[in-house]
Each structure stands twice: as structure tokens, then as C-alpha cells.
């Protein structure tokens, strides 16, 4: 019996989930050393973070809100990676999705549910084309997707900043666009919350009222549905089989009769659409408008980390996204509670991600080497 348990333990630790958990632990341990070196009590810091994540229902709901876009951009990166493409462009595709969702949400006058479907649908199509473009120029001209998507990120950023300056769309003097129509929002009870009855309710119901103070929305449910969709497409369809085959070995896939070029374009279309959905849900559920960006906001780049932590799978992205969202939301609380500068928090989060990504990075390097050797 004890032998079985030991064998099971060994199997678990060498498996991908075990490796990830060890990495998270190591990351926290090293983060503690950094905190100590910076003159802060790491136990207190982690306690503040834990409290900041779990001590009130509102905080949990904020973690979910922070996690939602990261889960979806994580799915986007994961999807492309499974086909052997490194989608650094999730950031730009996210921005394009956000622009289109904000525009459709503001300019169209449609009934409640239809408006959301139209806004999200258009955002996904636009972002899919944005991502697909990188896939197409890779397939057609052999331009590496890392180069093209980085360029497309900047084009998207400046396109977004330009759109905000347009008279009809940008609200003068705010650096933001007009808010989307209330029919396009996916928030729950947002109008009622600030009515007198709503404020009364929030005051008298501790738990529920607390949750209502955060901009709760249904984006998270969609994120889970998208994760299931990614899993289904990759594992249960012919298309997914082809895409994964290209990811394992493009030459073998081509020899096996798979159209590798088409697979690249399709994979990037999918990845772009996913990242666009992340931008759309963020606009429809949280920000309700887009703002002039002084720099990239990092939703897409964080998605790369989420995908790596989640082992490039649908379910993995959900959990990794939640972890990332929790660290991003809870981690920032050591600043106001302990006066620790944000840089320490960033270093801490960075170390955790580094460790978490390490086994997968090593594995990635090994596969690439194996592929090279077999060629």
C-alpha cells in the first residue's frame, strides 16, 4: 500500500501538473527571498495577498474579472502553439477586438442580447483576420510570425489611439471613446446597483452587496466555454488533428497529406479570433469603452505566460489564468498595505512565472532539438 502511494507520488511529481505545482512553490519561495532582500516581511506580504484574494466575496469576484481576459488570450496563444506557431500578436489582436467591440457597442442600436452577439461576433471576425494576416504572410511569403505579429501589435496600438481621436467616436477631453450602449453590456444589474434601491440593498446585504460592488459580468462563463471549444476543436475534430500534426512535425504532416500552409492560416485565424474575444468581453463587461494607450496594456503578453503555465491546454489556461489574475489583483495590495513598491511585486510575479514556465520551456527546447535531430 505504501509502495503504491510512493509510486503514485513519483508519477504525479514528474507529470506536468506536479511539475507546475512545484514551480509555483519554488516561485513563491524565491519571491520571499526577494521581498526579504527589499526589506519586507515575506510572510506578512503573502498574508496580505491571501487576504486580498479570499477575505471578501468582492475580491474573489475581482480575481475572476482580472482572470477572464487572461484566460482567453492564454487560449489564443495555446491554440497557435499547438500548431507550432508562436502568437506574440495576441496583444494586437486583443486591441483590434476591443476597438471593434467598442465601436459596435456604441454605434449600433440593437436589442439586448442581439447587440452583444453582433459586437462580439464582429470583434472576433476582425481580430481573426488580424491574426490570420500573420498566418497568411507566413504561409505565402515565409515571414516569421514572431516578427509580423510584433509589428501588427504596434499597428493595432496606434490604430486604437487614432480611433480614439475621431470626432464621432472619441469623447472630447477624456482621452476615451463614448461608452457603449447599455444593451451591449454583459454586466449584471449595473444600472440597478447605483439606483437608490440598489444602494440600499448593497448596504443591507453584506455578502451579495459586496459582490455587486465589483463589475461582475458573464465574461468568465464565456471564457470557460471557449476553453471547452479549444479542447474540442484540438482533440475531437479532424481539423484539430491536422493542426496538431503540423505542430508536432510540419514535414511529416505534409508528407501525410496535410496542407501545412492552410493549417498555419487557420490556426492564426482561430488564435486571433480568441484574442479578439478577450478584448470584446473586456470592453463589454469591464471598461465599456477604449482609452488612448500610453503603452501596451499586456493582456496578450500575459496570455503567453498563462498559456505556458497552463501547458498549452484549454483547462490549463483556465487555471493558470485564475492564478495569474489572483496574483495581479491580490499582489498589488501589498503596496497600499505595506508600502512595498510595485517593482517588488512585479519581480515576484516574474520569478513565479519564470519557474512555472521553466519545465515547459525545457520541454519545448527538447522537442525542438528532437525535431532538428530527426530532420
Amino acid at each position: 500500500m505504501t509502495l503504491d502511494a510512493a509510486a503514485l507520488k513519483k508519477k504525479f511529481l514528474s507529470g506536468s501538473i506536479g511539475l507546475t505545482l512545484i514551480s509555483i512553490f519554488l516561485g513563491f519561495a524565491l519571491g520571499a527571498i526577494v521581498l526579504l532582500a527589499a526589506g519586507f516581511n515575506p510572510l506578512e506580504a503573502y498574508w496580505v495577498i491571501l487576504k486580498g484574494i479570499f477575505s471578501r466575496p468582492k475580491y474573489v469576484s475581482y480575481v475572476i474579472i482580472y482572470a477572464t481576459p487572461l484566460i482567453i488570450t492564454g487560449l489564443s496563444v495555446a491554440f497557435a502553439l499547438r500548431t507550432g506557431l508562436f502568437n506574440i500578436g495576441a496583444e494586437g489582436q486583443y486591441i483590434v477586438g476591443a476597438i471593434v467591440a467598442a465601436a459596435a457597442g456604441y454605434f449600433f442600436k440593437l436589442p439586448l442580447i442581439l447587440h452583444v452577439i453582433v459586437a462580439v461576433g464582429l470583434a472576433i471576425i476582425a481580430a481573426a483576420l488580424w491574426g490570420g494576416l500573420a498566418g497568411y504572410i507566413k504561409a505565402r511569403f515565409g515571414v516569421h510570425e514572431v516578427i509580423s505579429t510584433i509589428m501588427l501589435n504596434w499597428i493595432a496600438l496606434y490604430l486604437s489611439n487614432f480611433v480614439v481621436t475621431l470626432q464621432a467616436f472619441g469623447k472630447q477631453g477624456t482621452g476615451k471613446t463614448y461608452a457603449i450602449q447599455s444593451t451591449a453590456r454583459i454586466n449584471l444589474l449595473s444600472d440597478w446597483k447605483i439606483s437608490e434601491a440598489g444602494i440600499e440593498f448593497i448596504r443591507s446585504h453584506k455578502m451579495l452587496g459586496d459582490v455587486l460592488k465589483s463589475p461582475i459580468n458573464v465574461g468568465f462563463i464565456f471564457a470557460i466555454l471557449l476553453a471547452v471549444l479549444v479542447w474540442y476543436v484540438l482533440n475531437k475534430t479532424t481539423l484539430g488533428y491536422e493542426l496538431r500534426a503540423v505542430g508536432f512535425n510540419p514535414h511529416a504532416a505534409e508528407a501525410g497529406g496535410i496542407n501545412v500552409k492552410r493549417s498555419m492560416v487557420v490556426s492564426m485565424l482561430f488564435a486571433g479570433g480568441l484574442a479578439g474575444a478577450a478584448g470584446a468581453f473586456q470592453v463589454l463587461g469591464v471598461s465599456h469603452r477604449i482609452a488612448k494607450l500610453a503603452a501596451m496594456e499586456g493582456y496578450g503578453f500575459d496570455g503567453i505566460a498563462v498559456s505556458l503555465i497552463g501547458n498549452n491546454t484549454g483547462a490549463g489556461s483556465v487555471f493558470a489564468g485564475l492564478l495569474f489574475g489572483a496574483l495581479k489583483y491580490g499582489g498589488s495590495k501589498i503596496q497600499d498595505a505595506m508600502q512595498a513598491p510595485t517593482e517588488v511585486i512585479s519581480i515576484m510575479i516574474g520569478i513565479i512565472i519564470l519557474f512555472v514556465a521553466m519545465p515547459n520551456l525545457i520541454r519545448l527546447i527538447l522537442t525542438i532539438k528532437a525535431n532538428r535531430a530527426s530532420n
Binding site: 506578512e44 469591464v286 497600499d336 508600502q339
Partner: protein, 335 residues
């Protein structure tokens, strides 16, 4: 078992520390601020705001804190976090937080908020105070100095992002230059950033190469590059928000100061004295020393020019000169 007991002890210890910690500070007034994405060390208005809070902490023995935002979506949750932490007054630094503060204030009607650079006008919630500055006034004065002191008859303006707020600096400055020197040419460019110092340096270098000898910036962190370019080329730069002479003592001619620190300090005093007045907008101008030119201006600006600036200041205070803050006002402005 041993490990478990240790954890247990640590938890109790932490709990005790927290309890006593709370008791000791229960009576003090607590004020916190949320910075925009520039962060608290931006050499510009976030930093100025934090300095104001620190000064208030010293003078009024209150407790202060801050929370930095890293993206647009952080504003509302940061407001919420500070609201939960039980601060008496929460500041939003920068007009980008306008929507977030209004929404949070509506859901938390018992919490006091204030915002820099934003006015809700008639729609100001009862628990919010807006604070705005007439940035065009100090910009006009430094523009006048630039117009008087330029030898090349060409000066420059570097803006951050083309927001109406930054245009107040631009048109105020242009009016000042033209008032002093109607034939002076003005080069104007926006960096489309508040953080990219390299871009600021490139733009300023370009202006100096085109023959400008004085460049005024209203661009936050971008301005660090502008001042660096002035230092390397041996030309003049004009600082903004704070007295930026310390960044390059021989090359920063003067600065258009916007005393965010004073505004925040003032509000802390009002809060302490029970004079806090929600639902209102406070305007800071030359008249209440909310804006002005840097005290170090005398180092490089001749006394006779400063005397003229003093006269202009009096005229602006009296309302004899209404400094233009927008393009339309600038076009109508009579020199």
C-alpha cells in the same frame, strides 16, 4: 506536527500584530491616492501629488498611502481596495480616472473622493470634489520669457499626448511667445506618450537642429529626454509641473509649475478642520497660487524680464488678460 505548530504560531503572531496595529492608528485621519499608469516616481504630477500628501502627513500627523495603477482597468479596483481599507479621503490623480471615480463614488456614497484635473461640473456627486488647474496661465508666462529670450526667433513645444489638457499648455505658451515677440516662430510636436523619454529627446534634438533655442515641454516622463537634449546641445529647456531646474541646473530656464502638491495639501487641511465640501469643483490659478513660474527662474532670466512677467501676472489675476486655453480662444486672442 512540528511544522503545523509553527504555522499556527505565526498566524497568531500576525493576527496580534494586526490587531494592535489597528488600535494604534484608529484615531488618525487617513488619506490615500491612486496614481495613473505613470507611477509615483514619474518626476511629474503623480510625484508632485505624493509629495503633497507626505507634507500633509508631516504637518497634520495624518496617515497617507498610495496605490499605483498599471493599466486602465486597474483604476476602479484600486479605488475599491482603498475604500475597503477605510481611508477617509481617496484621491484619483489624473483625468483618466474620471469615470472610475464617478462609478465607485456612486456605489459607495459614504466615502469621500477627490480627483485632480477633472471637473464633473453640475453632475459632481455629493461625495466627490474635482480639482482643476488653469495650466494656460503659467504656460503663458514661460512662453513670454521664451519669446523675450530667444536669439534665434524660434522656440519649440513638446506635448505628451494630444489631450485638451495638454493643449492648454500649448496654446497658453504660444500666446505668451507671440505676446513677447510677434515674429517668433513656434515649432510644436506631440510625442504620443507620457513615458517615452527617448522620443522626447529625439523630438527636442530635431527642434534644436531646426534652429530653435528654447523648448518647453508638457509631457511628463517624455520631458526627461527633452531636458537631456538641451543639456547635450547646450540649449534651453523649460520644465513643467514641478520646478525642474534640478534636472539640468544650467539648461532649464524656468518651469511652468502646477502645484498639485499644494492642492492636495490644502484638501488635507480642509478635511482635518472639518471644512471638506463635497459636490464641488475647486479651480487653482495664479490668484490662489495653484500655478506659477518656478522660484529658480531668477537664476537665468534677467530681472527686467521677470519684472514684466510680474506685471503680466497682475493683469491675469485682475482678469485684464484672459489667457487662451484652446485653439479657438487662441485664434481670437488679441495681442
Amino acid at each position: 506536527m512540528k511544522g503545523f505548530r509553527f504555522t499556527y504560531l505565526v498566524c497568531i503572531g500576525l493576527a496580534l500584530v494586526m490587531c494592535f496595529g489597528n488600535v494604534a492608528i484608529a484615531k488618525k485621519i487617513k488619506i490615500a491616492m491612486v496614481t495613473d499608469v505613470g507611477g509615483v516616481n514619474d518626476q511629474s504630477f503623480n510625484q508632485s501629488a505624493w509629495e503633497g500628501l507626505q507634507r500633509a502627513q508631516k504637518d497634520f500627523s495624518i496617515k497617507v498611502s498610495y496605490k499605483e495603477s498599471r493599466q486602465d482597468a486597474d483604476y476602479a479596483p484600486n479605488m475599491e481596495t482603498l475604500t475597503d481599507a477605510g481611508f477617509d479621503l481617496i484621491w484619483g490623480i489624473g483625468f483618466l480616472m474620471g469615470d472610475a471615480i464617478k462609478e465607485t463614488a456612486q456605489i459607495n456614497p459614504d466615502q469621500k473622493y477627490a480627483i485632480i484635473d477633472f471637473s464633473y461640473g453640475k453632475d459632481t456627486p455629493k461625495n466627490v470634489v474635482g480639482v482643476v488647474f488653469q495650466e494656460e496661465q503659467p504656460s503663458f508666462l514661460v512662453g513670454y520669457i521664451a519669446g523675450k529670450l530667444t536669439k534665434a526667433n524660434k522656440v519649440g513645444f513638446v506635448g505628451g499626448i494630444k489631450f485638451p489638457l495638454i493643449e492648454k499648455f500649448e496654446y497658453g505658451y504660444m500666446a505668451g511667445v507671440k505676446m513677447a515677440n510677434p515674429n517668433c516662430k513656434i515649432l510644436s510636436q506631440y510625442a504620443e506618450s507620457f513615458t517615452d523619454a527617448a522620443k522626447g529627446k529625439a523630438i527636442a534634438n530635431n527642434m534644436y537642429q531646426q534652429g530653435a533655442d528654447i523648448v518647453f515641454h508638457a509631457s511628463g516622463g517624455v520631458g526627461d529626454g527633452v531636458i537631456e537634449a538641451a543639456k547635450e546641445k547646450g540649449k534651453w529647456a523649460i520644465g513643467v509641473d514641478k520646478d525642474q531646474n534640478f534636472l539640468a541646473p544650467d539648461n532649464v530656464l524656468t518651469s511652468a509649475m502646477k502645484r498639485v502638491d499644494n492642492a492636495i495639501y490644502d484638501m488635507a487641511r480642509k478635511l482635518k478642520d472639518g471644512q471638506w465640501n463635497g459636490g464641488d469643483t475647486v479651480v487653482y490659478s495664479l490668484s490662489n497660487d495653484g500655478v506659477g513660474i518656478a522660484p529658480t527662474s531668477g537664476k537665468h532670466v534677467p530681472a527686467n524680464v521677470l519684472a514684466e512677467v510680474d506685471k503680466l501676472t497682475q493683469k491675469i489675476k485682475k482678469g485684464d488678460i484672459v489667457v487662451p486655453a484652446t485653439k479657438t480662444e487662441f485664434d481670437k486672442f488679441k495681442f
